[in-house]
């Protein structure tokens, strides 16, 4: 056999070995059989998933995150409830709460969907505190993880006071107002007793709305959870003991429960709002950046003082 042919035979043996090694490598790193279901019917009845991540506000944050505003969440809930193929909805929550109006809008929408006999199952992730719990309480069934931070039933309003700092710096504010309370919670001066009483009344009214809505959503009297509704946070396990969640379970359990409530087969499709490739890219990028920056304390930089159903550690 001449040298050239020997070279080629060597190449062929090399290729054969490569083939064998590749198949062995693929087999060794192989994961378990994934359930592969070919959904031939694009309108097959299934479960819609709505995510509620981050602080609840009316408007969505920028386009680079998965944080949706209440307008978008309500719109998505509306689309799903009007879609005949969506037979149940899973509300995936990871939120410390947010502004009162935005939270109540989502709560009302979920209640409206429930009244249309579309089961809604809430699945709590890391946190569903304050407004996050407010929204979850509207669901037919609530799942929490054992370590989910939830509760924080209460209302908060706060504003910084820079009066002493302004005095030290010799800065004064010229305020012309139409009424006594027009600049209530102004940072340039201390709050007065009358203003404090007024705000306390406002917080109490808003708090009562919270209690009533939780009572309505959970179908339990306020007296059953009133003693825990002092702003304290608790774990998912504790919340189960207080009857504020229905079961300890994961997102997968929530999907299964939604299918069960809607009498759907276990292989019924899951519908989510698909992100386009650009959103996915920036979402992943943002997620990476957030992971890197979590050691930096969250500093509230809002220039406005707002009344919130929000857990603020």
């Amino acid at each position: 056999m001449d040298k050239n042919r020997q070279i080629l035979i060597t190449i062929l043996i090399f290729m054969t070995l490569t083939l064998v090694v590749s198949i062995v490598k693929i087999s060794l790193t192989m994961t378990e059989q994934k359930e592969i279901s070919f959904n031939i019917n694009p309108n097959a009845p299934g479960v819609g998933v709505v995510t509620l991540y981050g602080a609840i506000t009316t408007v969505s944050s920028n386009g680079f995150t998965s944080v949706k505003g209440s307008d978008e969440v309500v719109a998505q809930l509306g689309r799903y409830s009007d879609d005949p193929k969506i037979r149940a909805i899973v509300l995936r929550i990871n939120s410390p709460g947010g502004t009162v109006g935005a939270t109540q809008e989502i709560f009302r929408k979920v209640m409206e969907i429930r009244q249309r006999n579309i089961p809604v199952v809430a699945s709590m992730s890391d946190m569903a505190a304050s407004g996050g719990y407010y929204v979850a309480s509207a669901a037919n069934y609530i799942f929490a993880n054992q370590g989910t931070v939830t509760g924080s039933i209460g209302v908060i309003v706060s504003s910084p006071s820079f009066q002493k700092l302004f005095e030290d710096l010799g800065i004064g504010m010229n305020v012309i107002k139409s009424g006594q309370y027009k600049d209530i919670l102004s940072s340039s001066r201390e709050i007065t007793e009358e203003e404090r009483a007024l705000l306390q009344e406002l917080v109490d009214v808003t708090y009562t709305q919270f209690l009533k809505d939780v009572s309505l959503g959970r179908n339990i009297p306020i007296s059953d959870f009133r003693e825990y509704a002092d702003g304290r946070i608790f774990t998912g396990s504790q919340a189960l003991g207080y009857h504020l969640v229905d079961e300890i379970g994961t997102y997968e359990n929530a999907l299964a429960k939604a299918k069960e409530l809607a009498k759907l087969p276990s292989n019924a499709p899951i519908y989510t709002d698909k992100q386009n490739a650009i959103d996915q890219f920036f979402g992943a990028l943002n997620s990476r950046l957030n992971t890197k920056l979590t050691i930096i304390p969250d500093i509230e930089t809002s220039a406005f003082s707002v009344i919130e159903y929000r857990y603020q550690p």
């Binding site: 056999m1 050239n4 042919r5 070279i7 080629l8 035979i9 090399f14 290729m15 490569t18 083939l19 090694v21 590749s22 198949i23 490598k25 693929i26 087999s27 790193t29 192989m30 994961t31 378990e32 059989q33 994934k34 592969i36």
Partner: protein, 198 residues
């Protein structure tokens, strides 16, 4: 058949395709119809492409279905690809008034799959190194496609006595001409339907 394999003449074809296209061209011109024997290369490539693409990320047990009945589909599309490329090269060469040897062109296209077979060791290397497997796989596809195209052009030059320009055009011109013809056909059909409706 067994004698043909034992004779190792096929080894000359394969080696010369890789290292000396002039001699490979001479062998192709001398030989009888070599289509059947060289057809094994696109078939192996089809199988290799499934394995190499499966190296990019973790597979489920569905992989065995892919290399089972899935390979029939890939083999079918690869053979169709060979047929279309060979016919389109023949068509363009005829436009250049070159005497076309269609069986040789088919053999050339089949042989051009030889450089592409190296995509498997390429993918295995980057997958084992765990370094940018996806992008490197894509780079490999482009690299070996380029080498394959060069092989076709060189073999056309040596087997059909055409200039490098004509050989290059015969390979790449169909990529421009056929989509244009297809669009014109669609346009004609569109006009036909509109005329029928109005």
């Amino acid at each position: 058949m067994i004698e043909k394999i034992r004779s190792l003449i096929w080894a000359d074809y394969l080696l010369y395709t890789l290292i000396n296209t002039r001699q490979a061209g001479q062998l192709l011109n001398r030989s009888e119809c070599f289509i059947k024997s060289t057809l094994v290369l696109p078939l192996i490539y089809a199988f290799f492409s499934i394995i190499s693409s499966s190296l990019i990320h973790e597979q489920s047990t569905f992989f065995f279905h892919k290399i089972g009945y899935g390979s029939f589909f890939i083999i079918g599309t690869t053979l169709l690809q060979v047929f279309i490329i060979a016919m389109s090269i023949g068509f363009i060469l005829q436009l250049f008034k070159v005497e076309v040897k269609l069986p040789v062109i088919f053999s050339i296209i089949n042989l051009s799959y030889l450089p592409k077979l190296f995509i498997l060791p390429w993918a295995l290397f980057w997958s084992s190194a765990n370094f940018a497997t996806g992008p490197m796989y894509l780079a490999g596809i482009i690299l070996f496609w380029g080498l394959s195209s060069i092989t076709v052009i060189k073999l056309l030059i040596h087997t059909h006595d055409v200039s490098p320009l004509k050989a290059t055009l015969s390979l790449f011109l169909p990529l421009i001409i056929f989509p244009v013809l297809f669009l014109l056909l669609i346009y004609d059909l569109f006009l036909l339907i509109i005329n029928a409706l109005i």
